[in-house]
Amino acid sequence: MSAETKKIGEIPSFKVTLFVRRFNPEDGQDARWQDFDVEVFGTDRVLDALHKIKWEQDGSLTFRRSCAHGVCGSDAMRINGRNRLACKTLIKDLDITQPIYVEPIKGLAVEKDLVVDMNPFYQAYRDVKPFLIASDKPEKERLQSAEDRERFDDTTKCILCAACTTSCPVFWTDGQYFGPAAIVNAHRFIFDSRDEAAEVRLEILNDKEGVWRCRTTFNCTEACPRGIQVTKAIAEVKQAILRGRA
C-alpha cells in the first residue's frame, strides 16, 4: 500500500502576505486595508494565519470562529474576493505569490473587522418556519423510506454560515431578499415527507422578497462550504410553488 505517499510535516513553511480589511467604529477611522506578513505551513488554513496575526502581531484583529474544521459556520468571510470559510481554505491552495485579501462578507452591516451583524440573516431563517410541523403524535418513530429521506438530504447539511446569502448579488442590493440560506432551510422541510406545512412555507416564499427574486447567479452554490446545490434547491422550491405543492 502507498503508506508513505503523504509526507505530513514535510511541507516547508513559507511566507504569505495578508491584506485584511479593518474597521472599528470605536476608533473613528475609515475602513482600510492592513497588511500582515505571516509564516505558515502547508497544512495551515486562512484561519490559522488570522490566528497567527491575532496572537503574535495584533490582538485587536477581530473575527468569529469556533470549530476550526468547517462544521460550525462561524467564519464565513471573503477571501480573495470569494466567500469561503477561513477554516476550510488551505493557504497553499491559494495563489501565494500574491497577497491574500480577507474582508467581511458583504451585505450585512460590519460591526468590527471581519465581524458582521448576522441578525437580519437569522431573521430570514426564522421567517420560513424552519421546524417540523406535524400533527400526529406517534408512539415510536415516524416511518420514512430511505428514498423519502434522501429527497431532502442535501439541504439538511446547512450550517447557517451565511456564505451563500452574502454572495448573492440580489441580497446585496437591499438586504430584503430572504436569501438562499433561508430558502435552503425551507426546502429541508418542504420536501420532508413527515412535514405537513409545505404549503405554508411555499406561501411565505411566494413573497415579493421570496424565491422569485433569485436570478440564478449561482454565487450561492459556489460559495456553499457544505457543497449544497443551493440554486437547484431554490429551483425546486419555485417548481413546488408553481405546482401548488411539494
Binding site: A3, E4, T5, T43, W55, A68, E111, A146, D153
Partner: protein, 591 residues
C-alpha cells in the same frame, strides 16, 4: 474607566450554554417557565454540531438489543467507575430520547422498512460482550449537526429566548456553607461590553467541555471550560477530572476528528508495515475496542517504532477496502476532512491518524436529577448541570462512543424538567447589589494589565505541556512537571497584557479570561491524575499500570480551597466519593 453598563433580568429558569444539553433543557423548560438561554456562541455554532458518529439507543431496529446490555457496556466501557443507577437511566431513557428527536424532525438514516437505522460503534456489544451490536442511531456522519439543528429548530418553534454571544463569567451564590443558594449569573455581552445580571430560581449549566487545555484536540477553540471553571471557583467540587478521553482517530497533526463510525463501518487501523495491530491488543473486537484501549495501542505502536510516515509518528486508518458508495453514503463528511486538510484520498489511500484530546468524562458533579452537588451528597437547590460539563457519572473512566449525544439528550431533558419543577415552588434568591463586582474586577484587571506576557504564548505553553505530560500515558514525574509548568504559567498570567482595550467585540479580552479557566482546569486535571495512583479507563499511569479497585474504586472530588497557596497543587483539596453499584460487580475489562 467608564463605568460598565449593567442590565438586570429576572427569569424562572436560566440555562447557560446552547449546545445539545442546553437546548434540550430549554425545550422542556421553555413551555412551562419563563426561560432564557445564554450562550457565548450562536446556538448552532456549539460543538455538539461537530459530533459525527451517532447516538446510542437499544431500539433493536436492526438486531436484538436491550437496555440492560447497553447498561452493561456503559459500565464496562467506563472501567466500572460508572454510577450504575445513572447508567441504567441513560440506557433506559435512550429509546425515548431518540424517539423524541425523531418526532422533533431529526432526519435519521433509515432501514429499508423506514425505521431508524443503526450501526456498530466501539464497545457496544450484544449480550454482555459477546459480539458487536448495531446500537448507534445516526444521520450519515453528521449526527451531532442534525441534533443541534433539530434542537435549535424546535427552540425557534417554541419561541425560546436566547441571549447569544453573551459570555457567562460568574455565578452569584448567596449564603454560607450548605445554605448557599444560586441567585443569578453574570454575563458579558461580546457586542457591547455591557454586563447583564440574570436572576433565576433555577440555573442550568450546560457549557460543554474544555479540550483546549490540550494542543492536539478535536475540540473547538471556544471549548475553554468556562462553566466548569466558574463552578470550581465558587468552591464547589469537580468530579473525576483526571479522566479525559483521547480519541484514537484524529487527523494526524491536526486533531480534527474522524469518527469511530469509520471503524464501525469496517475501517481498519494499520501500522507502518500494514499490520492490523489491534488484533494483538483486543482479539475479540479488534478495531472496535473502547477508545482508551485503541488510543493507547496506537500510541504504543508509535512509541515502539512501528508508526507510519516520515517521522513514524502516526498510524493509518484504512478505508480502501470499503466500496466508494458506502463511504459516500455513510462517511461523506469525514472523508471530506481527509481530502481537504491532508490531501489524502480515502478511496485509495489510508488516512494518517493519531489520538486527539476529545472528551471530559469528569466535570460538575450531579445526581440523576441533574442537580449539582456541593459535596458527596448535598444538593445545591436550584443549581443544575448537564452535558459534557457535568459528571453524573455515566461515563466513569472512559466514555463509550455515542453515549455523549445520548447523555446530553437524557440529562439535558432531565435538567430542564427538574429545573422547572423547582422553579414552580421556589422563591427567587435576592441578588446582592454588588452582584457584578467580581466580573467587573476580572475584566478591568485584564483590560488594564500592563505586563509583557502574551496570552497566546501562555496558552500554547500550557497546551504543549499537557500534551507532553498528561496525555495517553502519564507518570508521577510527568504530572509533576506539568504542575510546575502550570504554576509558572499562573505566575506569568499575572503579568499579561492585551492589545485591544475597546468595548465592542473584544475577543482579545475574552481569550485572556478564557485562559484563566483553562489554567484552573488543567491544574485540577493534573493534580487529580497525580493522586489517582492506578490505571483505569482513559487514565493510564505507567508507574501504576493496573487498576486498583481496593483503593481507587471511587470518584475523585476536587475542591478549590485557598487561591493564594504558594506550592503548586496545594490549593486543591481532594476527596473521594463512592461509586454506585447496582448489578455489575467490577471485573477485568477485556475485549
Amino acid at each position: 474607566m467608564t463605568k460598565p453598563r449593567i442590565h438586570n433580568y429576572t427569569y424562572d429558569v436560566v440555562i447557560v450554554g446552547a449546545g445539545g444539553a442546553g437546548m434540550r433543557a430549554a425545550i422542556e423548560a421553555g413551555p412551562h417557565a419563563k426561560t432564557a438561554v445564554i450562550s457565548k456562541l450562536f446556538p448552532t455554532r456549539s460543538h455538539t454540531g461537530a459530533a459525527q458518529g451517532g447516538m446510542a439507543a437499544a431500539l433493536a431496529n436492526v438486531e436484538e438489543d436491550s437496555w440492560e446490555w447497553h447498561t452493561f457496556d456503559t459500565v464496562k466501557g467506563g472501567d466500572y467507575l460508572v454510577d450504575q443507577d445513572a447508567a441504567e437511566i441513560l440506557a433506559k431513557e435512550s429509546v425515548q430520547a431518540v424517539i423524541d428527536l425523531e418526532n422533533m424532525g431529526l432526519p435519521f438514516n433509515r432501514t429499508p422498512d423506514g425505521k431508524i437505522d443503526q450501526r456498530r460503534f466501539g464497545g457496544h456489544t450484544r449480550d454482555h460482550g459477546k459480539a458487536p451490536v448495531r446500537r448507534s442511531c445516526y444521520a450519515a456522519d453528521r449526527t451531532g449537526h442534525m441534533i443541534l439543528q433539530t434542537l435549535y429548530q424546535n427552540c425557534v418553534k417554541l419561541g425560546i429566548e436566547f441571549y447569544n454571544e453573551f459570555y457567562v463569567l460568574d455565578l452569584v451564590m448567596v449564603g454560607e456553607g450548605k445554605k448557599r443558594r444560586p441567585s443569578a449569573v453574570v454575563a458579558y455581552e461580546l457586542a457591547t461590553g455591557d454586563l447583564h445580571v440574570f436572576q433565576a430560581k433555577s440555573i442550568v449549566f450546560a457549557t460543554g467541555g474544555f479540550g483546549k487545555i490540550f494542543k492536539t484536540t478535536s475540540n473547538a477553540h471556544t471549548l475553554t471550560g468556562d462553566g466548569v471553571g466558574i463552578i470550581y471557583r465558587k468552591g464547589l467540587p469537580l468530579e473525576d477530572m483526571e479522566f479525559y478521553q483521547f480519541h484514537p482517530t484524529g487527523l494526524a497533526g491536526l486533531g480534527i476528528l474522524l469518527s469511530e463510525a469509520a471503524r464501525g463501518e469496517g475501517g481498519i487501523l494499520r501500522n507502518a508495515s500494514g499490520e492490523r495491530f489491534m488484533e494483538r491488543y483486543a482479539p475479540t473486537i479488534k478495531d472496535l475496542a473502547p477508545r482508551d484501549m485503541v488510543a493507547r495501542a496506537m500510541a504504543n505502536e508509535v512509541r515502539e517504532g512501528r508508526g507510519a510516515g516520515p517521522n513514524k509518528d502516526y498510524v493509518l486508518l484504512d478505508l480502501t477496502h470499503l466500496p466508494p458508495e458506502v463511504i459516500d453514503a455513510k462517511l461523506p463528511d469525514i472523508t471530506e476532512f481527509a481530502r481537504t486538510y491532508l490531501g489524502v484520498e480515502p478511496y485509495t489511500e489510508p488516512v494518517p491518524v493519531f489520538p486527539t484530546a476529545h472528551y471530559a468524562m469528569g466535570g460538575i458533579p450531579t445526581n440523576i436529577k441533574a442537580e449539582v452537588l456541593s459535596d458527596n451528597k448535598t444538593v445545591v437547590p436550584g443549581l443544575y448541570a448537564a452535558g459534557e460539563c457535568a459528571c453524573v457519572s455515566v461515563h466513569g473512566a472512559n466514555r463509550l462512543g455515542t453515549n455523549s449525544l445520548l447523555d446530553i439528550n437524557v440529562f439535558g431533558k432531565r435538567a430542564g424538567i427538574y429545573a422547572v419543577e423547582y422553579a414552580k415552588t421556589a422563591q427567587h434568591v435576592p441578588v446582592p447589589a454588588d452582584a457584578a463586582s467580581e466580573v467587573i474586577a476580572m475584566i478591568e484587571k485584564v483590560r488594564k494589565a500592563k505586563g509583557n506576557e502574551k496570552v497566546a504564548v501562555l496558552r500554547k505553553e500550557l497546551q504543549d505541556t499537557m500534551d507532553k505530560n498528561a496525555q495517553v500515558y502519564r507518570t508521577e514525574d510527568s504530572l509533576n512537571e506539568a504542575l510546575d509548568k502550570i504554576a509558572e504559567l499562573r505566575a506569568r498570567y499575572e503579568n499579561i497584557s492585551i492589545q485591544d482595550k475597546g468595548e465592542r467585540f473584544n475577543t482579545d479580552l475574552l481569550e485572556a479570561i478564557e485562559l484563566g479557566f483553562l489554567l484552573d482546569l488543567a491544574e485540577v486535571l493534573v493534580v487529580t491524575a497525580r493522586e489517582r495512583r492506578e490505571s483505569r479507563g482513559g487514565h493510564y499511569r505507567e508507574d501504576f499500570e493496573t487498576r486498583n479497585d481496593k483503593k481507587f474504586m471511587v470518584h475523585s472530588m476536587a475542591y478549590l480551597t485557598d487561591k493564594k497557596v504558594k506550592k503548586p497543587g496545594e490549593n486543591i483539596k481532594i476527596d473521594w466519593k463512592p461509586v454506585t453499584i447496582t448489578n455489575y460487580q467490577p471485573m477485568e475489562r477485556k475485549y
